[in-house]
């Protein structure tokens, strides 16, 4: 098993005729993902690099029976594309596009909740279940099938950490980049709940950064196993070992560090707070990326 994507994933690429959309459509197909086609309004009926192009998500879903989409469209049209996918019946949308206005995202997320459509991102590298399916821009060759679940707010930092895990002889069940925007479709908690229920996942790596309090919420969720073993809390427990890395210990206050969501507001959202919360919850936090594999091995021993 895995979470979000697997061998039944049938993918549509929204914005497939753009440079990045097409490049990664091919990369995903090469990886083994079933790419059913793509959507670019006004270019329907064409075939590009073997991918059938459709005018709308409704048409594309009707003709391909796809269940997943990935969004590469420019930021001005991105939230509309996300909503279109959900409206057309897509069950998982992965949004690579970054920098979506917060109010647009609040509306989109609220609408997707109602539709029962899951969203990963925006401003994320996507999701990969090694050996099964890749829906994203992650470099497939660094991943290896295994039992570690990875969830991260970052893109390249995730690759850095994954490469240490893979090089140490371990593999990943699923790796999810949840995105660096302040409002994202799936946060740590949402992903941890899925990892909890995924039998393939035996340990979790959580990669956080400054801004917001998502890491603190995750720490609470993970901790409850130790502090509240009562039956009614069982469903809120991760029930699996977890280790973490937090980026931004040297970040100045009040500055947006690349990601729209990576900002220390007033006195909240610092790396210190997050490290403290995770540590207090019994989750070891690596001081540098290279330590992550060792921490995992200790937890799994």
């Amino acid at each position: 098993m895995s979470i979000f994507v697997d061998n039944d994933t049938r993918l549509l690429v929204q914005g497939i005729t753009g440079r990045d959309g097409l490049f990664h459509a091919m990369q995903m197909r090469d990886y083994g993902t079933q790419v059913a086609g793509g959507v670019t309004p006004g270019k329907g009926g064409q075939t590009v690099e073997g991918f059938p192009i459709f005018n709308s998500m409704h048409e594309a879903v009707a003709k391909t029976d796809a269940n997943t989409s990935i969004v590469f469209v420019p930021v001005q049209f991105a939230s509309d594309a996300i909503i279109e996918a959900a409206d057309a019946g897509i069950k998982l949308v992965v949004c690579i596009t970054e920098g979506l206005p917060v109010l647009d995202m609040l509306k989109a997320v609220s609408y997707l909740d109602k539709k029962g459509t899951k969203l990963i991102g925006p401003n994320c590298p996507g999701v990969i279940s090694p050996g099964k399916s890749k829906v994203g821009i992650l470099p497939g060759h660094i991943f290896r099938e295994g039992n570690i679940g990875v969830v991260s707010r970052s893109g390249t930092l995730t690759y850095e950490l994954v490469s240490h895990i893979t090089n140490a002889g371990m593999g990943q069940s699923t790796c999810v980049g949840i995105g660096g925007d302040p409002i994202i479709g799936s946060n740590f908690l949402d992903v941890l709940r899925l990892f909890r229920d995924d039998p393939q996942t035996e340990a979790v790596v959580l990669v956080g950064e400054i801004g917001g309090c998502d890491e603190e919420e995750a720490a609470k969720f993970i901790r409850q196993k130790h502090s509240k073993p009562a039956a009614k809390f069982v469903q809120q427990e991760l029930g699996k070992p977890a280790v973490a890395f937090i980026a931004g210990r040297t970040a100045p206050r009040g500055k947006r560090m690349g990601h729209a969501g990576a900002i220390i507001s007033g006195s909240s959202g610092t790396a210190e707070e997050k490290v403290a919360a995770l540590t207090a919850a019994g989750i070891p936090v690596a001081d540098e990326p290279a330590q992550i594999a060792q921490l995992l091995k200790e937890k799994l021993a």
Partner: protein, 378 residues
């Protein structure tokens, strides 16, 4: 983008939220003429982006013309937390009997907006939240439904028992909300919102932050941008699709991805160095971006070495390598550059850089150590 008070007040006035009569002035003479127009006493307020201007002496009441002159002279040019005061807001003095707090902002955890009010206005709301949280009422606003009448009423009843005052407050909150959503704000704050001695509710101060991601919908808002020297560089970087923030160390960083860029800074610090900057060249990098990145970093006179740390996903390593070579050709490098390239097309990239002056690093830790060494240690 955070607005200065006088800019935020323009938003308020346009939204129909009552504000004092006031005028922006840039000199003592302008202050005198503004005071003449508004009448005495009046209040002179430093227009700066940082907080705590009151404690720093940036807000003063002037009862006489002489005081207008001396206060304006004292505040203009003053340094408040590193920011030089160049603008002054001259405002009619308001007698008030109560100070409230009201704001609308994004609630990241709940993925909604939140209306927050408190009868303990005029002070730092974070302090109120920490010390007397029961003095704050938070009302979650559904993003699709928007702020409802029962919510503004509830907030107003929390602040006052007087029906007439409740009505005024509710109307102001409704306007604040419309202002918030129609301008893509990420914060709209009134602190204090005061009750004047003749029972009028009026916004004495105003804080507005615009969602930077939504600026494409409001191109005219660019006119509000007032940049410090550092921010000029940040803005220039942004126009090239880069995220740059200047810091004070010796090791310049060029990294793809915000998380990796922060982790790179953290690692330099951990190994005893000091990062000179945050720099994320972003996804989908073109060779051009590397040119701009190297130019930006080398313009910082404190920089002694550069660490290029790239892990390719959407970014192709060969693009980065070509960009580096091009940059070295266009403007010969005077600084040592340590390069770590991993990921998509890394093999091609390594070939491109073979035999050049760029110092190869085997991994991130190796790169950080070499860059610190090249910078002459910490």
């Amino acid at each position: 983008m955070k607005l200065l008070e006088y800019q935020a007040k323009e938003f308020f006035a346009k939204a129909g939220i009552p504000v004092p009569r006031e005028k922006l002035v840039l000199s003592v003479n302008e202050a005198l003429s503004a005071a003449g127009e508004l009448g005495l006493p009046c209040v002179l307020k430093a227009q700066v982006g940082v907080g705590g201007r009151g404690k720093a002496g940036g807000v003063k009441l002037a009862k006489t013309t002489d005081e207008v002159s001396s206060h304006a002279d004292a505040i203009l040019g003053m340094d408040i937390k590193g920011e030089r005061v160049e603008r002054l807001l001259c405002s009619e003095a308001i007698n008030f009997t109560e100070e409230f707090y009201a704001s609308i902002t994004t609630d990241r955890a709940n993925r909604s907006m939140v209306l927050m009010v408190s009868a303990a206005g005029g002070v730092d709301i974070e302090q109120v939240a920490a010390q007397t949280p029961n003095k704050i009422l938070k009302i979650s606003v559904d993003p699709l439904l928007g702020l409802q009448t029962f919510q503004t009423r509830r907030a107003a009843m929390f602040l006052s028992d007087d029906k007439e005052i409740q009505k005024q407050i509710a109307a102001i909150l409704a306007k604040l909300y419309r202002m918030y959503v129609s301008n893509d704000l990420s914060l709209a704050e009134i602190n204090p919102l005061v009750l004047t001695s003749d029972n009028q509710v009026i916004a004495l101060d105003a804080k507005v932050i615009i969602d930077d991601n939504a600026m494409f919908r409001h191109p005219n808002f660019e006119g509000y941008r007032i940049l410090s020297d550092d921010e000029v560089l940040e803005q220039e970087a942004k126009q090239h699709g880069l995220s740059y923030i200047k810091l004070s160390g010796k090791v310049g960083c060029i990294v793809n991805g915000a998380g990796l860029a922060m982790a790179t800074m953290d690692l330099i610090k951990r190994y005893g160095g000091e990062p000179a900057n945050f720099l994320d060249v972003g996804g989908s990098s073109s060779p051009d971006k590397m040119l701009v990145a190297i130019d930006l970093v080398t313009r910082d006179p404190g920089v002694r070495s550069i660490f290029v740390n790239i892990f390719g996903g959407i970014t192709r390593c060969d693009d980065i390598a070509s960009g580096l070579l091009q940059a070295a050709k266009d403007a010969p490098l005077t600084l040592p550059v340590v390069v770590r390239l991993t990921g998509t097309n890394e093999v091609e990239a390594h070939k491109i850089l073979e035999g050049t002056s760029f110092i190869p690093a085997s991994d991130m830790a190796d790169g950080a150590r070499k860059a610190i060494e090249q910078a002459g240690g910490s």
